[in-house]
């Protein structure tokens, strides 16, 4: 084990991702409504997420962006009183069908939260535990995957000599990248990110943003962000959510350039120009 390639990301340079010229829907959301008890968080949202692209979800707080993300990997199942209606197709499979395998769905769809959420275990074990759960138990294989994903997120050089120390001893930015690594280890095709940079300082946030750019093209990414400049920098598509009649709704969806430069909805124009929101 050495870190001869120092900070080298194995994902290659930033430009490597393919351009999204031929939109192929990977996630199809049809008439999604989501309630917490009596409260309507999302009202009839219909949206396609395209393969290999970064889709940014923007909008004011409380308009249901996080709820939308958790509906995609059925994390909403864990919230008591949360009721989801409508259809979500991931690779043409209805995720709410009774015979669908939630564990496999969540392996396929990685998720990174706003606050870094490393487990209170060693760095090595943070990555090994989910792998073991998905049937990858051979030590050598787990070690190889661990090194691979830690290199992918640019953490290997920083931690290769202390893999057995607690993950909680890492800095916030490192913890967040460990969470990325943990998700990538399961070899997902889709990544959901809920404001992955907003709990980090500007430098760490920049590192994570670079990482997201490197992931572009290899993974289908849905990212919630409050940072419009960031959305503009990294996203291919953008969707604006808004609260109307006390329910979250999708206002406009389109190519990033279109949303930011020539929005067709006046709310979008006001929001991206910083007039409202």
């Amino acid at each position: 084990m050495n870190a001869n390639q120092d900070d080298a990301f194995t994902l290659g340079p930033l430009e490597a991702g393919p351009v999204c010229c031929d939109p192929q829907p990977v996630i199809q959301v049809k008439d999604l409504s989501l309630h917490y008890g009596d409260k309507i968080a999302l009202d009839k949202v219909t949206l396609d997420i395209y393969k290999g692209c970064i889709t940014a979800l923007i909008g004011p707080s409380g308009c249901g962006k996080s709820s939308f993300l958790s509906a995609i990997n059925r994390l909403t199942d864990l919230i008591p009183g949360c009721c989801v209606n409508g259809n979500i197709f991931v690779y043409d499979q209805d995720i709410h069908r009774s015979d669908s395998n939630v564990q496999e769905l969540r392996r396929q769809i990685g998720m990174v939260f706003q606050k870094p959420t490393p487990f209170p275990l060693s760095i090595r074990r943070n990555i090994a535990l989910p792998l073991n759960e998905h049937g990858i138990r051979k030590q050598a294989e787990v070690a190889a995957i661990t090194e691979q994903v830690l290199r992918d997120v640019g953490l290997w050089a920083e931690v290769y000599d202390r893999l057995d120390t607690s993950a909680l001893s890492l800095s916030g930015g490192q913890q967040q990248r460990l969470c990325f690594a943990r998700a990538l280890a399961l070899n997902p095709q889709i990544l959901l990110m809920d404001e992955p940079c907003s709990a980090l300082d500007p430098i760490a946030s920049g590192v994570v943003e670079d990482l997201i750019c490197r992931l572009q093209g290899r993974y289908t990414i849905v990212i919630v962000t409050h940072n419009l400049a960031q959305a503009r920098r990294i996203a291919n598509y953008a969707a604006l959510f808004w609260i109307k009649e006390r329910a979250g709704q999708l206002v406009e969806f389109g190519r990033c350039q279109h949303i930011f430069e020539s929005p067709s909805h006046e709310l979008t124009a006001a929001y991206v120009n910083g007039v409202r929101g």
Binding site: N73, R107, R125, P130, E133
Partner: protein, 288 residues
């Protein structure tokens, strides 16, 4: 300028005062503990010897030691823990992991546990006597004493475990689920280890409660001081022995002091051990 100076002085005096109060409270708590320990040591250390631990009592406890009493106490404790811990901890897991916090079932269970926790131990003793000793025909035995203690320990074990499990941040559950881990795996690999110190602390409290219990055992495990031959024999618990020596046996003060010293030392050791255990477990979890 002068106002500032005055204000500064006032603040400093207030700080000092608060400091004094806090230190004296700490000192008081420490002093009470040390006083009790010193008093016990003064009265009992002369009587304490290796024979006292290894011999059975003679002449109603005035002579001989407490070996049979210690064995009985240990057996009663084991029976109580083996019966109560799985029940209490699985109840806590059910309440925290499988029920919404505000569910009426959870509320009902919690309410009954609170009531149970408030019931005086003599009532448990009478219940144990009526149910285990007479109705189930276990008689005056270590088994019926242990089971009675188990009922007494249920509330404290359940509520400490529940608090411990609830204190584990929800983010662990969410992020484990998001990684496709099952609930059972999350429980075993993340939640129980994270709650282990709390579980150990609750277990300790329970053991302390059980070791010190007198009234609940009076009518259930009885006060025969012979070495128990099986779980169906009667056996006298240490606390009961102390009570009997100091109340009913003239000239039993010295052995009572010595027995109390043994009991307190035992409690102290268990406390230290469990603290070390919880700490070690946490370290070990991080290392592997």
């Amino acid at each position: 300028m002068r106002d500032n100076q005055q204000l500064h002085t006032v603040h400093r005096i207030r700080d000092r005062l608060a400091q004094c109060l806090i230190y004296s409270a700490v000192f008081l708590v420490g002093a009470v503990f040390i006083w009790i320990l010193a008093d016990l040591a003064r009265g009992g250390i002369m009587h304490l010897s290796w024979e006292f631990i290894t011999e059975s009592p003679r002449d109603a406890g005035r002579a001989g030691g407490i070996a049979s009493i210690l064995i009985s106490t240990l057996l009663i404790l084991c029976v109580a823990l083996i019966a109560a811990v799985p029940l209490a901890w699985s109840t806590a897991i059910l309440l925290v992991e499988c029920m919404p916090a505000a569910s009426s079932f959870g509320k009902t269970v919690r309410f009954s546990l609170h009531v149970l926790a408030g019931v005086p131990s003599i009532v448990f003793g009478l219940f144990g006597n009526a149910f285990f000793s007479i109705y189930l025909g276990l008689g005056f035995s270590i088994l019926s004493g242990g089971l009675t203690l188990a009922c007494m320990l249920l509330p404290i074990l359940t509520s400490t475990a529940e608090a411990g499990l609830r204190a584990v941040p929800d983010t662990y559950r969410l992020s484990a689920s998001a990684l496709g881990m099952t609930r059972t795996a999350t429980l075993i690999h993340l939640i129980l280890p994270a709650a282990a110190p709390a579980l150990a602390a609750g277990l300790l409290l329970g053991i302390g409660r059980a070791l010190a219990e007198t009234a609940a055992l009076l009518f259930t495990s009885g006060y025969v001081e012979r070495m128990p031959g099986s779980l169906l024999d009667s056996g006298r618990a240490l606390a009961l022995h102390i009570f009997d020596l100091s109340m009913n046996v003239p000239g039993g003060d010295m052995p009572a002091y010595a027995s109390a010293l043994v009991l307190v030392t035992l409690l102290l050791c268990i406390n230290i051990l469990a603290m070390k255990l919880a700490y070690g477990l946490q370290r070990w979890r991080i290392m592997t």
